[in-house]
């Protein structure tokens, strides 16, 4: 048997692929771009709104919408047809961002032992540590997707200089609330985990609180600005359910 049969169509973008026997992935690009990200969010929102029989769950990644479905009740051909029809229904790349978005101003400590890889990441980006902190605090980034761990955002997009690779060896443990950088994105970690991203800062954010009324703080489409603070101030913010962050509505 060949190993190359996952494609059901071979076109540039968007393209529909099976993902296992019970999944379909609709990709709007092969690499991250703002229109592909917006298209994926809008397309998935429309699938949720339409509530097709046999579709059990859906989500988005940076550039794709994913559906898990019951292949015994909804055939692959039928689902693909429905997806094709919906794809041609409008220009998804031109879709607006989700409604109900918020702007978060999140205090963070950059460098020191709370962000031990700031110098090394800055060097990889070819900037000074001071310029690095400016880049992280003066770029308004957007939640492009939530994933890997509950409530954990991929935030972008940073200036071109930050197109630096992930590390080839993993950092064995990065703490909850840590801020890390690679490939023009920041990740704000919702759980302590090993990672290949470079640890440049720390926040007091607890992005997933299963017992709280609002278990997940961030949503795809939300925007984030980081503000620089010091270790003592940050330590005092740890009891705040929003980790010292200020939230305001964005249109």
């Amino acid at each position: 048997m060949t190993g190359g049969g996952a494609d059901t169509t071979k076109q540039t973008a968007p393209r529909i692929r099976t993902a296992g026997v019970d999944g379909m992935l609709v990709s709007f690009g092969d690499s991250l771009s703002e229109p592909a990200n917006r298209a994926a969010l809008a397309f998935r929102a429309e699938i949720e709104r339409q509530g097709w029989d046999g579709v059990e769950e859906s989500t988005t990644s940076l550039v794709s919408a994913y559906l898990r479905f019951d292949p015994l009740h909804l055939g692959h051909g039928e689902l693909k047809d429905k997806l094709d029809t919906l794809l041609s229904d409008r220009d998804w790349y031109d879709a607006p961002l989700p409604s109900g978005r918020r702007l978060w101003r999140i205090p963070a400590v950059f460098g020191t032992d709370l962000g031990p890889q700031l110098e090394q990441a800055a060097e990889a980006a070819g900037v000074t540590p001071e310029q690095a902190i400016k880049d992280f605090t003066q770029t308004r980034v957007r939640v492009q997707t939530i994933g890997f761990a509950p409530g954990q955002p991929y935030l972008g997009e940073l200036p071109q200089a930050w197109d630096i690779p992930r590390q080839s060896t993993l950092t064995s443990r990065i703490p909850e609330g840590a801020l890390a950088v690679a490939i023009r994105q920041l990740v704000l970690f919702s759980v302590a985990t090993p990672t290949g991203w470079q640890h440049i800062g720390q926040t007091a954010m607890r992005l997933f609180q299963p017992e709280a009324e609002e278990p997940f703080l961030l949503r795809p489409g939300d925007e984030v600005e980081f503000t620089e603070t010091d270790a003592e101030t940050l330590s005092n913010m740890r009891d705040d359910p929003h980790g010292g962050a200020e939230r305001s509505e964005l249109s």
């Binding site: 296992g20 992935l25 769950e57 994933g147 991929y154 993993l170």
Partner: protein, 341 residues
Amino acid sequence: MTDTLTIHRAGPGLTLQDTGRPGYLALGLSRGGAADRLALAEGAALLGQSANLTAIEMAGMGGEFEASRDTSIALTGAPMAVSIDGTRIAWNASHTLPAHARLTIGTASEGAYGYLHVGGGVRPPERLGAHSAHLAAGIGGPLEAGDKIDLGPDDRTTTGLTLPKDPRFAGGTIRILPSIHTDAFPQDLCTRFEDTAFTRDTRGNRMGVQLKWEGDGFLPEIGRKIVSEVIMPGDIQIIGDGTPYVLLSECQTTGGYPRIATVLPCDLPRIAQAPAGAPLRFRFVTLEDAVEAERKAAQAIADLPKRRQPLIRDPATIPNLLAYQLISGMTAGRELDPEGA
């Protein structure tokens, strides 16, 4: 007063599990739930109840339990030594656990995850729409000695049933489909993957298991350059050093490593239940074959109640035979009486 199940002693990997928590994928929370969903269905069939009731999952070893009332129980998944007040009872069967008797569950003789089901299910507090612990996400946690869990209502009188033993506890051949990245793997790498005799590594948990083999790794050229994409239980990702890692129920929701293939959901219990060192081989099937395999597996689950058999007990192993009511355990006893009922 609510009846409870008390845990007097707990192995290190005891958690409450159900069929998981769908609907939070877009917020980064994987569905989770029992590592071996088939074992949940078997317990439900043995007790004649819903497969989404909550059971106790036991990784590698069990513990010691006591119920505050007579309770029907079922034991499924990886076979473990089990006794009630010191008397050995059968695995893969349902039993009546008398009030305040001690149920003792030892280590698995094969497989990885055993399950203790109770009639009516256990009723821990609900979190985000389900009762299962999701250790990776910090929802719930391992059960510990001293824990008491509420029992659901149980009016079952029919216990003493067994199901034929399933052969999924010693590894074997696993059916796979191409994944979203399989195209990026050279054909010879895919062929070598199919030809390789793997074993399950000792590294593994509810998030996934690592494979072990002799020879070169399986990392393709595209290595670390692919964009992070949605990942699901069953996906086989090739991590940085070329090692295949099969994701299980409690996995991450996106991943940046390339995936060589994905395991059919109906074969995933065989991966979850493979103990360290068990042989594993992988075989690509077509999408049509995969759908057919899922159909057969769903039918087999629907047919489980028909496959139940009365448990035949050897009277010589029953220490206080005369204390048993030999009739009422199986039927209400009056169906045979024309004047009765």
